[in-house]
């Protein structure tokens, strides 16, 4: 590892594999800019798993894509992304390609939109191994079959000859996960990697990712809507709302003692496998985008605990008993969490 430079930032030693500070992403809308991701801080150490949950449209996928320089054309990315002490934001194309080919891999949320429909599954899986890792074609083929077996696809030989449209959603998702395992990256950005999988297959796939983490020190950012899954597989969980991270806590405490009203609202909306609710509780009001929220707390229009001063400024992140929370009332509120703990 390189020796970190001394700098006047809050944490001055960069010991984390990934260290993101103040990451913002904006896109053009006519003459103005629309902020989609707003001042995100995120750190992931080697072998660590961090969960990212939050509202649909809050910027989770955009954050992950920004880490790899995969934002939409014309987007403005600001802030500081250090991967193993290298600045990602200033990398040239070649360095970025290198980074994506060997060190940081992404499981995309929508595999069908990211896997070339006219190439076979075999081509998709072996291509990267041959081109980037210098593996011989026959060896790459054999490895692809093994990787498919690893993600619960036993008839690999047949699957390699198939095309994406011949595979179910969950099979394709697993092909994408296998392609990531092939690279054995230092960090995997997994954007809802198991949403298309049944729970037994999900369990297997998460166990494999967990193994790689323990045995090879692979770090993971897990984007998911399943709080119980995140709690069971991650060290820490961050919660995103309107482009900002509003809360970060160790997994062991987040679900029992949420500190941000949005997090608490999320937990209460979950349907239960044991009971049927007459009507599911929802967080009232409509989601807002980062660029729609004013000066104050973006959650204020929907928050049952809001006070007039919540509108004054963007709530700074504060430490509350091991949690980092962006809510001005975090210290004084007791919020409901997981009901079945």
């Amino acid at each position: 590892m390189k020796i970190p430079e001394v700098q006047d930032k809050p944490r001055d030693v960069r010991e984390d594999l990934l260290d993101v500070r103040g990451l913002s992403v904006a896109v053009r809308a006519g003459r103005s800019w629309r902020t989609l991701v707003d001042g995100v801080d995120l750190a992931i150490g080697g072998g660590e798993a961090v969960g990212l949950v939050g509202e649909s449209g809050s910027g989770k996928s955009m954050t992950a894509r920004a880490l790899l320089g995969l934002t939409p054309p014309g987007a403005r990315v600001t802030g500081d992304i250090a991967f193993d002490s290298d600045q990602v934001t200033t990398m040239n194309r070649r360095a970025l390609r290198e980074l994506r080919a060997r060190r940081v891999a992404m499981v995309f949320q929508d595999p069908r939109a990211h896997i070339n429909p006219v190439r076979s599954v075999g081509d998709f899986l072996t291509e990267a191994m041959i081109a980037n890792l210098g593996v011989a074609a026959a060896e790459a083929h054999a490895r692809a079959v093994r990787l498919l077996a690893d993600v619960g696809i036993p008839d690999g030989e047949r699957r390699l000859r198939q095309y994406p449209h011949e595979l179910s959603g969950g099979l394709l998702q697993r092909v994408m996960i296998a392609s990531v395992l092939a690279v054995e990256p230092d960090l995997v950005l997994a954007d809802e990697p198991t949403t298309a999988l049944d729970v037994t297959t999900q369990s297997e796939v998460m166990a494999i990712l967990d193994e790689l983490r323990r045995e090879r020190g692979m770090a993971m950012l897990l984007i998911t809507h399943d709080l119980a899954l995140a709690a069971a597989t991650c060290d820490r969980i961050s919660v995103m709302y309107a482009g900002r991270i509003v809360e970060t806590q160790p997994s062991t405490t987040l679900t029992a003692t949420p500190r941000h009203p949005y997090t608490s609202g999320l937990m209460l909306s979950r349907p239960s496998i044991d009971t049927v609710a007459d009507r599911l509780p929802v967080i009232p009001g409509r989601p807002v985008a980062a660029f729609e929220s004013g000066e104050g707390c973006a959650f204020e229009p929907r928050c049952g605990h809001a006070k007039p001063h919540c509108r004054d400024l963007r709530p700074p992140v504060q430490d509350v008993e091991g949690a980092r929370v962006a809510c001005v009332r975090a210290g004084e509120l007791t919020l409901r969490g997981d009901v079945d703990v």
């Binding site: 939050g54 509202e55 649909s56 449209g57 809050s58 996928s61 955009m62 939409p72 929508d110 069908r112 011949e166 595979l167 179910s168 959603g169 969950g170 809802e192 949403t195 298309a196 999988l197 049944d198 729970v199 037994t200 297959t201 999900q202 369990s203 297997e204 796939v205 166990a207 494999i208 967990d210 193994e211 809507h225 399943d226 709080l227 119980a228 899954l229 709690a231 069971a232 597989t233 679900t255 609202g265 999320l266 937990m267 909306s269 979950r270 349907p271 239960s272 496998i273 044991d274 009971t275 049927v276 009507r279 599911l280 509780p281 929802v282 967080i283 409509r286 989601p287 997981d338 079945d340």
Partner: protein, 278 residues
């Protein structure tokens, strides 16, 4: 008109030598909600596609709203009629949306095909529908690629309910939504059902969601139905090994992922967290 909206007997689908769906029969009553759960690759989507007529069964028979649905070309009038009978929300919303059509246009086109509305009425209705799924007016002018995964999924839902079909097939339609918006959509589906008597075929990997939305459920594995029954009973007291393993693999406090999810864990499935209701 009969109260059975779907009657499928012995449906089978082969792709080459592989059998994707093997002898599946089901009936769906007016106003009923049927869940289909099961293994990834077990044939759920293929079954759904046969029900809506996007895939020709290799064997079996299908009646929808009291009429047989023989394969083959149909007139555009018949196609419209079938669309009013049954709509589907696809598992992959991105590939089911026209990449060049703005979101408002997507919904309006769907309305235009089935209702005679003035442009003003159509636009108003489209915005109402977007609002019902938690999207706003500003999304109407956006392109599919400018939306998040969950936003696209909600556009697909809005487009399908716009048609006011008698049966709505939802294939993993709420999987990409955060739990609060998911709850909003589940409540919306419940409201529509109460108001209109619509029926649902609800394919999902999320057993808690399935419990909330359906009265009856099918469990599929390897192309076949391995267990079926009232959803509550199926989840609280599963009979088949496969259903038990599903029940046991649901993440919950204290759960850890495991590579052999099937073995040994079946027994504690129904014992988890008490018998609070049902």
């Amino acid at each position: 008109m009969s109260d059975t909206v779907i009657e499928a007997t012995g449906l089978r689908k082969e792709f080459g030598t592989a059998v994707a769906v093997d002898d599946v029969s089901l009936t769906l009553e007016r106003g009923q909600s049927l869940a289909v759960v099961g293994e990834s690759g077990s044939g759920k989507t293929t079954l759904a596609r046969m029900l809506v007529g996007l895939e020709t069964p290799t064997g079996g028979t299908l009646r929808v709203c009291g009429r047989p649905r023989p394969p083959g070309r149909v007139s555009s009038r018949e196609r419209r009629r079938r669309a009013r009978e049954m709509q589907i929300v696809f598992q992959d919303p991105y590939s089911s949306l026209d990449k060049l059509q703005r979101i408002g246009g997507v919904i309006e086109a769907s309305l235009d095909l089935h209702f005679s509305l003035t442009p003003g009425e159509r636009r108003k209705r489209a915005l109402e529908l977007l609002e019902a799924v938690g999207l706003a007016e500003r999304h109407a002018t956006m392109l599919p690629r400018q939306l998040s995964g969950g936003q696209r999924q909600r556009v697909a839902i809005a487009r399908a309910i716009a048609v006011e079909p008698q049966v709505l097939v939802l294939d993993e339609a709420v999987a990409a939504l955060d739990v609060s918006i998911q709850a909003q959509i589940l409540n919306l589906l419940a409201d529509i059902r109460e108001r209109s008597g619509i029926s649902y075929v609800f394919i999902s990997h999320d057993l808690a969601v399935v419990h909330q939305i359906s009265e009856v459920a099918l469990v599929m594995s390897g192309g076949r139905v391995v267990e079926r029954g009232p959803t509550g009973a199926l989840l609280s007291d599963p009979q088949e090994e496969y259903t038990k393993s599903l029940r046991a693999a649901v993440p919950r406090p204290g759960w850890k992922p495991s590579r052999r999810a099937v073995s040994g864990s079946a027994a504690n499935g129904s014992a988890a967290s008490g018998t609070a209701a049902s």
